[in-house]
């Protein structure tokens, strides 16, 4: 009798060890993260979806459901189609340029030379400088009157004062400028990715390639590149997602101009939805990012997984 009575667990005992249970403690620890994602990503996303299907503007905040008409409006608008095209040019252009710069930067930084540690530290600067300050500095370098670049070109006799390029005033050059600034901002990240990948390759494999008769280029493109591809692909996903959704450089340097030549999705969505108050069309513009990003991310992840098998 006594034994049976004792074996009934007291409530205090049951709760005292509740944190020792893996499932309880685990859920407790991930709860903040889940809550954060739900509240700050999930809810705004659902709201954006709803706005894009309604006739909501800040002057007439009606929740009237209008179906896909907002999407049909913007797709029929040539300015939007230009923006979509710009976004791809901007993203691919700066990713490719950033990758090339990153690859060469990493190769240079792998060779020992005096002051290498200092250079390795300094190379992170474009990343550490606040983007607003950096962009303003770049803006002055591209300025029609005060451009350091033009002064240099004139001093070298490559162009004259009268036909010096108007960097931010010519559509193609303006696109080139935002691409260059974005690549400049991202290439330290690319260097870090490449360095991490290359230094993880066992020395024996590289030595074997040398002995097997592979020269510099063959070692690079048949051994090193394929071996670091998975990690570079992860870097590319990040770069692609951040660039595709970015508006800061365009906003600070060109305001989408001249005549919409550098307008990108993030910027156009912000201009239409917030500055002009046409929330429903702004939401529809922004939602165009979703399928593109989804396709890119799924494709990349699949590719990585296939490589690892």
């Amino acid at each position: 009798m006594v034994a049976i009575a004792d074996s009934v667990p007291k409530p205090t005992a049951r709760f005292r060890f509740i944190l020792d249970r893996r499932d309880v403690f685990g859920s407790l620890m991930v709860a903040p993260a889940i809550l954060y994602v739900l509240l700050l990503v999930g809810v705004p996303l659902l709201m954006a979806v709803y706005y894009s299907l309604s006739a909501y503007t800040i002057y007439n905040p009606s929740w009237r459901f209008v179906g896909l008409s907002n999407f049909i409006d913007i797709v029929n608008n040539p300015v939007f189609r230009q923006t979509l095209y710009n976004t791809f040019i901007f993203t691919f252009g700066s990713q490719i340029l950033g990758l090339v710069l990153g690859k060469f930067g990493a190769l240079l930084l792998l060779r020992p030379f005096p002051g290498r540690k200092l250079v390795r530290a300094l190379i992170i600067l474009p990343w550490a400088v606040p983007i607003a300050l950096a962009t303003v500095a770049w803006e002055w370098m591209f300025d029609s009157l005060y451009s350091v670049i033009n002064w240099t070109l004139i001093a070298l006799g490559i162009v004259t004062r009268s036909n010096a390029p108007n960097w931010l005033g010519t559509p193609h050059l303006a696109m080139l400028c935002v691409i260059v600034v974005n690549a400049w901002r991202f290439f330290p990240f690319a260097i870090v990715i490449f360095l991490a990948g290359i230094t993880a390759i066992p020395q024996d494999v590289l030595d074997a390639a040398t002995i097997d008769g592979a020269g510099f280029w063959r070692r690079n493109y048949q051994i090193i590149m394929p071996m670091i591809l998975p990690i570079v692909a992860v870097g590319l996903i990040f770069g692609f997602v951040f660039t595709f959704t970015d508006l800061s450089i365009v906003f600070l340097m060109t305001m989408g101009g001249p005549v919409g030549a550098t307008s990108v999705l993030g910027f156009a969505g912000f201009q239409t939805g917030i500055n002009s108050g046409d929330v429903s069309h702004g939401a529809a513009i922004s939602l165009f990012m979703l399928p593109v990003l989804l396709v890119v991310v799924v494709a990349m992840l699949r590719f990585i997984r296939r490589r690892e098998i």
Binding site: D204, T210, G213, A214, R218
Partner: protein
């Protein structure tokens, strides 16, 4: 295939001379083993031969030509690395074909040679796998096939068996040796394991601190070590070396026997105190000390169990042991072998 010779090769890393004047002649087709403790400069020496490292001074000759300034790929030397260095993103087939592709060998010829190498090493069935899907022994064979497929002037092997377990190692030792005899390629094999060296080498070069201590056939190295280092490094358990008359006296444990087992020859007597004994089935290893010598120095005797019963050899007992005079080795106080007394 070609002979490999070095003339006084030195390699310095800053102050440290990893290789300190090695002169070695490996004739065409020989299986030469470099034997030495780890850190003695074996890997560095191999890397100089294949061109991954440039010597500080000295000459390297392959097939009679000085190749100091010839880049690795033009030396035609193949090397197998300690951890094999297989390309993880290539199939086995592609791994083996890689050295041929870099030389722009036509595709049909590549297929033929890959098939030949794969068959030689018995890895035909693995050709479409990736290196990570192979066992240690299979990886080693793939690395060997890759090294041999382009018919190298010389084959360099850097501790190729160190990643295999003990059982596989004995088997692989046999296999590499037979295989080398069949192909007849000049081979330089690096190891710190004296069993491998004794069992495989046509000749052995014993290396210490970047210098060659002795070059010779396994029996020369074992029976007539050139100095105390070689004497102590080769053999398990190593040679007993005791100080005597301003020099040193050495004798192998298997020659150190109870006096009544030696009848036919002149011998030298020792009084031996037994401290401990290990029965290993085929032999009995006895540890102890000699009367009249340093009492702390451990002397080992390797005895045939058939002749020496358990109760005969008990800790603390003194016995009369002896060594045939022909089995005694004399060294100067600087460690060099003294000419026969």
């Amino acid at each position: 295939m070609a002979a490999v010779s070095t003339r006084n090769i030195v390699k310095k890393f800053g102050e440290l001379a990893a290789v300190n004047g090695i002169s070695l002649d490996v004739p065409n087709g020989e299986f030469m083993v470099l034997l030495g403790p780890s850190g003695c400069g074996k890997t560095t020496f191999l890397r100089i031969i294949c061109g991954l490292e440039q010597q500080t001074s000295g000459d390297l000759l392959i097939g009679g030509d000085i190749v100091n300034d010839v880049p690795p790929r033009a030396r035609g030397v193949a090397m197998m690395f300690q951890s094999y260095g297989l390309y993880p993103h290539f199939s086995v087939r592609h791994n083996i074909a890689f050295p041929l592709r870099t030389q722009r060998v036509p595709g049909a010829e590549i297929n033929k040679k890959v098939a030949w190498a794969a068959q030689l090493l018995g890895i035909d069935h693995l050709l479409d796998r990736r290196p990570r899907q192979l066992s240690g022994g299979e990886r080693q064979r793939v690395a060997l096939a890759r090294a041999l497929v382009r018919e190298p002037t010389a084959l360099l092997l850097d501790e190729p068996l160190s990643n295999l377990d003990a059982k596989l190692r004995a088997f692989a030792r046999q296999e590499i040796k037979q295989f080398q005899q069949r192909v007849g390629v000049t081979t330089i094999y690096v190891t710190h394991d004296q069993v491998e060296a004794m069992g495989m080498g046509d000749r052995i070069a014993v290396i210490d601190h970047g210098q060659v201590r002795q070059v010779g056939t396994p029996s020369e190295i074992y029976d007539n070590p050139a100095d105390r280092f070689v004497a102590a490094f080769v053999g398990a358990p190593p040679m007993n070396i005791v100080a005597r008359n301003g020099g040193y006296l050495g004798f192998r444990p298997e020659n150190f026997l109870p006096k009544d087992m030696i009848k036919d020859a002149a011998f030298t007597e020792f009084k031996f105190r037994v401290d401990r004994s290990e029965y290993l089935g085929s032999e009995r290893i006895v540890y102890g000390a000699l009367e009249g010598f340093d009492p702390k120095q451990v002397i080992t005797a390797k005895l045939p169990p058939a002749h020496v019963a358990d109760e005969w050899i008990r800790p603390g007992e003194w016995h009369l042991f002896a060594v045939r005079n022909s089995a005694l080795r004399h060294f100067d106080d600087d460690g060099k072998r003294r000419s026969r007394l």
